[in-house]
């Protein structure tokens, strides 16, 4: 039985990783989760310089999910390389670095810095954060802008490039094709769905940013549908995410076309969830007589 998957020539011991932003750089969870067991650690978005992020409140619970408007607070690429990437050298897992920026130039500068780092397996380009007003989602909702940034990043990147797509679009297939045409090596989706929550007694928005990104099991059927549509529109591999809470959910995404999966909000609910999902996938393979996950990937 083989739980390993290969994406863009990189071997993953299993298809389970965290979704960017829900796991820091692994440091905060390393006392609770054996990072060596994960297919990859996906780091929180990093920019050229430190970002302050948005005012608080930044998070709000919603039915089977949550809204966040962190605003990509991060310590900047210098500290990230010397602290976070250094820390991850202690673990036998792939490192996927999520990159954010306000302009094409800023993304490219971060990608160039990461080209010198030998423990970075892949880059994930965040063109889909709904909580920053410049950059972020602006690149992820217009096919022309997505192609432009994908080309620029690909030119500078040493590692394979995953474009992380936003669900806040009319046609995810069109966005997926635009990224593929511009040279993306893989896609990841979905990022959060823009939402809003109002405290009716205080007559105020729950989030200081007014809107935030919805994640958690509440968005899972939307995510499965979009992974299916994107995976059928392109030939490059797709990493699926959106409310995964169990091994069954992970398998569902793989059958819809995902080569690997990421767990997001549910890490907050249960820090052990990714290892439980890895164990659950193995059990499912045994029960169903599956030797290799390729047998079920994209079977629908």
């Amino acid at each position: 039985m083989n739980t390993a998957v290969e994406i863009c020539g990189i071997n993953f011991k299993n298809p389970v990783m965290n979704a960017s932003g829900t796991f820091g750089s692994g440091m905060e969870y390393c006392g609770l989760v054996d990072l060596n067991r994960l297919g990859a650690v996906v780091t929180k978005g990093v920019a050229k310089v430190p970002w302050e992020g948005n005012p608080t409140p930044r998070v709000a619970e919603t039915a089977s999910g949550m809204l966040n408007a962190i605003g990509l607070q991060n310590p900047g690429i210098d500290v990230f390389i010397e602290r976070d990437l250094e820390f991850l050298k202690n673990y036998d897992t792939n490192v996927i670095v999520n990159v954010c920026g306000h302009s094409v130039g800023e993304y490219v500068e971060v990608v160039q810095r990461l080209a010198e780092c030998d423990n970075v397996s892949m880059l994930e380009i965040n063109v889909s954060c709904p909580n920053v007003h410049e950059g972020g989602i602006a690149f992820g909702t217009d096919p022309g802008a997505l192609e432009e940034i994908t080309k620029a990043v690909k030119k500078a990147a040493k590692q394979p490039v995953i474009m992380k797509l936003s669900p806040n679009v009319t046609s995810i297939a069109e966005m997926a094709k635009a990224a593929e045409a511009a040279g993306a090596d893989a896609l990841s989706l979905i990022n959060t769905i823009t939402g809003m929550k109002i405290d009716i007694y205080k007559r105020r928005f729950l989030l200081a940013n007014r809107t935030g990104g919805l994640s958690g099991p509440a968005i899972r059927p939307v995510a499965v549908r979009m992974v299916y549509e994107a995976a059928h529109a392109v030939k490059i591999p797709v990493i699926g995410m959106g409310g995964i809470a169990s091994a069954e959910d992970a398998i569902e995404f793989m059958m819809a076309g995902a080569s690997a999966v990421a767990v997001g909000m549910m890490n907050f609910h249960n820090p052990g969830i990714m290892t439980e999902i890895i164990d659950g996938i193995e059990r499912f393979m045994q029960e169903q007589g599956i030797d290799d996950l390729a047998e079920i990937t994209g079977i629908l």
Binding site: G21, T22, F23, G24, E28, Y29, G31, L32, K44, P50, W51, E52, G53, T56, P57, R58, V59, A60, E61, A63, S64, G65, M66, N68, I70, Q73, P75, G76, V79, G216, P217, M265, M266, N267, F268, H269, N270, P271, G272
Partner: protein, 262 residues
Amino acid sequence: MISEKAVVENKEHLAEGIYGAWLKTSAAREAHPGQFVMLNTKSEAHLLGRPISICDIDRDKERLRLVWRVAGYGTDEFSRLEEGDRIELLGPLGNGFDIDSLSGAENIAVMGGGIGAPPLLGLVRQLHGTGLKNIDVYLGYRSASAGLFLADEFKELAAVHIATDDGTAGTHGTVLDALDSSGKAPDIIYACGPMPMLKGVKQYAEENLIPAYISLEERMACGVGACLGCVVKTRFKDAHSRVENARICTEGPVFAAKDVDI
């Protein structure tokens, strides 16, 4: 820090909307006053842990006492826990009170407003245990009729001064009014309570040139410093974030009042 199912040992109904419980958990081994835990609800619709401060610690029996106010779905569900129930717990979390910060201070004021009082009980027990004599505890409540929860337990350890919003017990007003009418001049303050009170404590400490340590709260998702949901503005570049933001769950919840912009 551990993630496990804790077992409810004793359930307490302390006052109107105020509940407590002793939980059997190995998290008690490493817990300090001022730290907190995250408790999960059993509902699949309410998935974020609820941060609840640690009120008291029994290391020998590996038990933590939590006291909370019913403020929403999660705390309401917890108020219906029964002896023997199991509940998912993550903790202990945060820095807690640092009594090394006393640095020779002798006249200690401990100020708790409303549901800010519980985490101070463990602190006062610890201070009392070090042999410090001049500990004054100022507790603010809504009204005597709603219940002066924990006041009697504080009285076993320190001099207690009560303030109520409606004047039905102690000083009519806030804990700062109670401090004023006590005539005491503390040389250090530890405080937890609603934001207007903490702002008042910060201002009092700055005017009187004394240190104050305040415990903050904010909406949070992970409790361990990963999500960056629960930050507070700081007066300096934080060592972790490299911006003027510190994580309440990790660098806090207790901060030197002078360091935070509240």
